[in-house]
Amino acid sequence: MTYSIEARDLRLDYRGSPALRGLDFRLAGGGIYGLIGRNGSGKTSLLSLVASLMKPTSGTLLVDGEDPFENPRTMPDVCLVQDRVKDSGDEMWKVGGYLRTAAALRPHWDQEYADRLVDLFELPQRKRLSSLSLGKRSALNIVIGLASRAPVTIFDEAYVGLDAPSRYAFYDEVLSDYMAHPRTVIMSSHLVEEVDSLFEEVLILDEGRLLAHEDTDDLRSRGVSLTGPTRAVDDLRPGLTVLNEQVLGGTTSITVYGDLDEDTLSHARAAGVEAGPVRLQDLFVHLTRKDRR
């Protein structure tokens, strides 16, 4: 079961200042979407609206064609997992009880899958939430996000507390579970490098505005990386917007924003320079640079 998400001139003011400034986009559903942006760009605000934690100031937001705010049909089917390290009532909850609560309230909860994930992330069921480490707390939130099997599953920076092995285990789980149970998955992060291969489409937010919403491959094709002998790379450099540069001995690698025409690419190849795809992280950093705003 997959749900579409659509926003039309979506705005949210928070304490008098705009958090979202007229967003327009449509996610068809049934894909893994990346929502990236710097800290304070409006990612959590947007996701909070999708999960009905807040009401938009103006504009339209539709989840599966309906306004999600206080919607008893869509709300249980939207699971927003946030990077909550501490929460009120953590002293009261034990891990097992917290999972049972999610099981009772999520209509598509898969208990066998939840048990397997608890083993995978080595979660202590009898421990109180307040005594969990940052990594275990993140893991608990992720177990709930995955086992809920909600038609709209959102991970809002939920995995940044995990150590590297756990993060990669999480990426594997997201992908394999999505393949087995297709749904709309949104992953929000400002740490793009590890997750960009998962995304089918990417939305880039900056200061409450939507800078880009594109197919990931199309977005990557907005730039190119050139690697080769330093002198040959330097010959190509004039007139290009260089996003990133790495030098190792006599070899230089630069990431360039914008299309390169076929003649330039042929010339580069002839000079021993290899052209490759650009990293999403470099594009993101470039597009959200302060001097571009």
Partner: protein, 247 residues
């Protein structure tokens, strides 16, 4: 295996929250009952011949339970919203869960208090000590369990609804806004007891020469004020945002 048990989210939330509230309240009542039993025993043994009113069940009922339960109710809105809204339960459903917890809690506490009046009546029935009360009540004998329950149900529900309302007002309007609305909330919360003409508010009627309303009018009116407080909670909760740190 996928579960599909989510038929009545409000009841599910009530079932999940009630045990914690019940344990805290049970611990509280266990402590105050022991304390007041000791006070009552000492008064019974050493207090013969004094003009002091004799009902210690009334002394207990008139004091901390309403404030304790009212304080407990202050956290209802913040707890329900913080934990169950992100789990896909609507505010409207959470309101019904809160209402069930408030009225259920008030009914359970009123039943305990009615039981204490009854126990006291059994203990003192065979003695020469008459049961007398400090403040006016709808009942005039500790054996009138039904009326005792009704009076305390309305009074305790009023205090719990008041606590819930105060918590909602602070959650909605923040510290300064909450402080600004505290007095109107308190006046509304005390109104049911004033209408019933019982407790410390009812005691002042005698001094002021005010005739209390008959029970047939005071109980429905007091209940209506409780309902108004519950509806105000619904009004405050129905579009209350759950704000979390942004990224």
């Amino acid at each position: 295996m996928t579960t599909t048990t989510r038929r009545r989210p409000a009841l599910t939330v009530t079932r999940l929250v009630a045990p914690a509230m019940l344990w805290i309240s049970a611990l509280y009542f266990a402590i105050v009952i022991v304390v007041f039993a000791v006070i009552g025993y000492v008064a019974l043994v050493h207090g013969e011949g004094t003009d002091e009113p004799t009902s210690h069940a009334e002394l207990l009922a008139n004091s901390s339970p309403r404030f304790f339960l009212g304080s407990l109710a202050i956290i209802v809105t913040s707890t329900l919203l913080a934990h169950y809204l992100p789990m896909g339960v609507t505010r409207h459903q959470l309101f019904w869960a809160g209402t069930t917890l408030i009225l259920g809690g008030a009914a359970a506490a009123a039943a305990v208090i009615s039981g204490l009046f009854l126990v006291e009546w059994f203990v003192l029935d065979g003695t020469s000590i008459p049961i007398t009360y400090r403040t006016p009540h709808l009942f005039d004998s500790s054996a009138q369990v039904g009326v005792i329950f009704l009076e305390h149900l309305v009074a305790l529900a009023a205090f719990m609804a008041l606590g819930w309302l105060i918590g909602s007002v602070f959650a909605r309007y923040g510290g300064w806004g909450g402080l600004g609305l505290l007095l109107p909330c308190l006046l509304l919360g005390l109104l049911p007891e004033a209408l019933l003409g019982v407790g410390w508010v009812g005691q002042s009627y005698g001094a002021l020469g005010i005739e209390p309303l008959p029970m047939a009018a005071s109980v429905p009116l007091g209940t209506a004020v409780v309902a108004v407080m519950l509806l105000l909670n619904h009004r405050l909760m129905r579009d209350m945002p759950l704000r979390r740190p942004t990224s």
